[in-house]
Amino acid sequence: MKAVGARLPRYDGIGHVTGRTVYVDDIRIPGSLWVKALRSPSHHAKIVKLDTAPAEAMKGVHAVVTHKDVPLNVYGHLSALGIPGDEPLLAEGEVRYQGQPIAVVAAETEELARAAVEAIVLELDEQPALFDVRKAFDADAPKIHQWGNWYPHFEAEMDRRQIRKGDIDAAFDRADTIVQGVYRPAAIEHVPLETQVCQVVPEPSGRLTIYSCTQALYFSMGVVSAHLQQPLNKFKFVGGTVGGGFGGKVDTATETMCSLLALKSGKPVRWRWTREEEFLCSSTRAPWHMEIADAVTKDGWILGRKMLTLHDAGAYARFSPYGLTKHSFHHTGAYTIPNLEFNGYVVFTNRVPTTAMRGFGVTSVSFATETHMSRVAKVLGIDPFELRLKNANRIGDTSPNGITYTDPSTVPTIQAIADSLGHELPGEYRAMTPARREGALLPEHLVDQLGNPEAH
């Protein structure tokens, strides 16, 4: 029997339907302490006083951890990709979003851990906050991040991600019509049914066993290893069975803090976020601000596109520079546009840091560019299927960053939907394939962008 292509049952299906699948929260470790976090009540403030002694003095409280206990408090999760670190594991001196962790405690019961958090003395000096990415560049905007209000560390220390292709001015000069629009998708929650959860056991060998709901065992192990400044063989991550993630569990949200508490207390600890923590303090999908202007001809060719993107990163960079780069690489969508001018900024605001979520960086640009394509079709009075098929990327066309497409399926997927809807396409559109451009489908403005698919 062939295994590939077969409708085989889930490997773990029986476990799921009988309640036997073991998630992190289902693991019972005797003597485990409960973890709770002191989180910032403010969107932006200086920390004037932080006194954990009253919590530490409580009977049944076994450890309190603040930034002072973290060997490397600021670690760039994507430093391998050239993105430096900016986010402290536990706040030091300043808080930049409501819900930011300042201290974590481990106590014998959940209620006691909550009481210990309440016992910590925290005094804040409120600072002006910034929430609107469009005002981040204003001269009078509050300064909210040590790097300024936007990320300044792209290649060659540029403060934005750029794409340039062709001759954008010529395209806009030549256009019959220029269609402009603004697109703003929302921040949304990942809402995995399993909230962030972690258990850490200090082993007699001096190792830590970390039961984790991470989507990325080795990535998260690297993060813990870096913060603790310990080699990888100090850790055993146990996981691989996750109650939903959707990108949010790429954040290593609990493992490092629990490890520090386990080491400090010498006892196993567990931290299961409440749903409210998940809704209010966990990272979200980013809200985006995108402006597009397309230079188009009256017969429906897109000659050029200018685009400005502001990526609302929240308070810290986390994975946002990566997401914006991915976004920029796909800002022409499923179409070939030979002349481009893209500028994108990762903008900091005093909201919860945003992170990866299903479709990271591209969900936003798909919404913007595809809604824009529908608008262009309306403005020009052209059938939206035909506009798309005409500009669809094809074998030999090149992407915004100069990569030649070898097997694009824009044409067949559009045709399949048109067929299924009973949408009549003219003969030449029905007959279209992804094959290399020629004839009427290779107008002069698309000649220079052609590449050689065999080069890949």
Binding site: T109, E111, L112, R114, A115, E276
Partner: protein, 262 residues
């Protein structure tokens, strides 16, 4: 660390009333759907908790045209009643919450963290319902409107109303089942032909719409008039702007339903 609360488990209505006393330091637990999360999240730390599930306060009885609903009657049971109570109850949460949540919990709930609670206040206000409750000063009966401001300090025993000649309920569609209804309007034609209207979602508890009632003969005018009866607010579900736009629509739709059911 707080001591575990004293748990009171009355097995009759009289015992419940006696244990409730003047209500000081008593947290009433009906179905648990509102109180339990508050306990779990550590926001509510009761010293005494009064559990009503065995107090014999559930049930719907009819005496002529008078309907009396016991405090712990489930919302699911109410969903089988005629409009406006039935459709309003059926619109609350999902099947499991409806079967667990109670009339009294719905009416007496405090403000929700994100939006108003107490969807059933609307239809019961429109019906001119009266509330029998216990607490300081003994057992009293009063109109729901007068009870609502003190609902957090008394033990609701039952609610009574006259069967209407016709009833209607119009609500904004809930995007999904976990959501509270952002705005709803209940309409009643009483046996004497008079029309009464009430809304929920226009403030932190239900509100009668007297100006709209006065104009009920002209649904368009009634819708506009309703705006004079309410104070609109922003919350997680909808803005005051949106409520201002849609309250007249719902008043009109409720009156149209009432007309159709006549």
């Amino acid at each position: 660390m707080s001591a575990a609360p004293e748990v009171l488990l009355p097995s009759s209505a009289d015992e419940a009333v006696s244990l409730f006393g003047d209500g000081a330091d008593v947290t009433v637990v009906g179905g648990g759907t509102i109180v339990l999360p508050e306990l779990t999240y550590g926001r509510l730390k009761p010293t005494r908790a009064l559990l009503l599930h065995r107090a014999g306060l559930a049930g719907i009885s009819r005496n002529g045209s008078t309907v009396t609903v016991g405090a712990t009657t489930s919302i699911l049971d109410l969903s089988r009643e005629r409009a406006p109570v039935g459709p309003c109850a059926a619109n609350i949460a999902d099947l499991e919450i409806r079967s667990q949540g109670t009339l009294a919990g719905n009416i007496c709930a405090g403000e929700g963290p994100d939006a108003p609670r107490g969807d059933l206040q609307g239809p019961l206000l429109a019906l001119g319902a009266t509330v029998r409750s216990a607490g300081q000063g003994g057992t009293t009966t009063e109109p729901l409107e007068e009870f609502l401001p003190k609902r957090r300090s008394r033990l609701l025993l039952d609610v009574s109303f006259e069967e209407p000649a016709a009833g209607a309920f119009a609500a904004l569609g809930r995007p999904h089942t976990h959501d509270y209804t952002a705005l709803a309007v209940s309409a009643v034609r009483a046996a004497d032909g008079s029309i009464r209207l009430a809304a929920t979602g226009v403030g932190w508890w239900g509100t009668r719409l007297p100006s709209a009632e006065a104009a009920a003969g002209d649904p368009e005018a009634a819708g506009t008039a309703a705006l004079a009866d309410v104070t609109l607010h922003d919350d997680a579900l909808a803005s005051a702007w949106y409520r201002e736009r849609t309250l007249p629509v719902l008043v009109r739709r409720a009156l149209a339903q009432l007309e159709e059911s006549a």
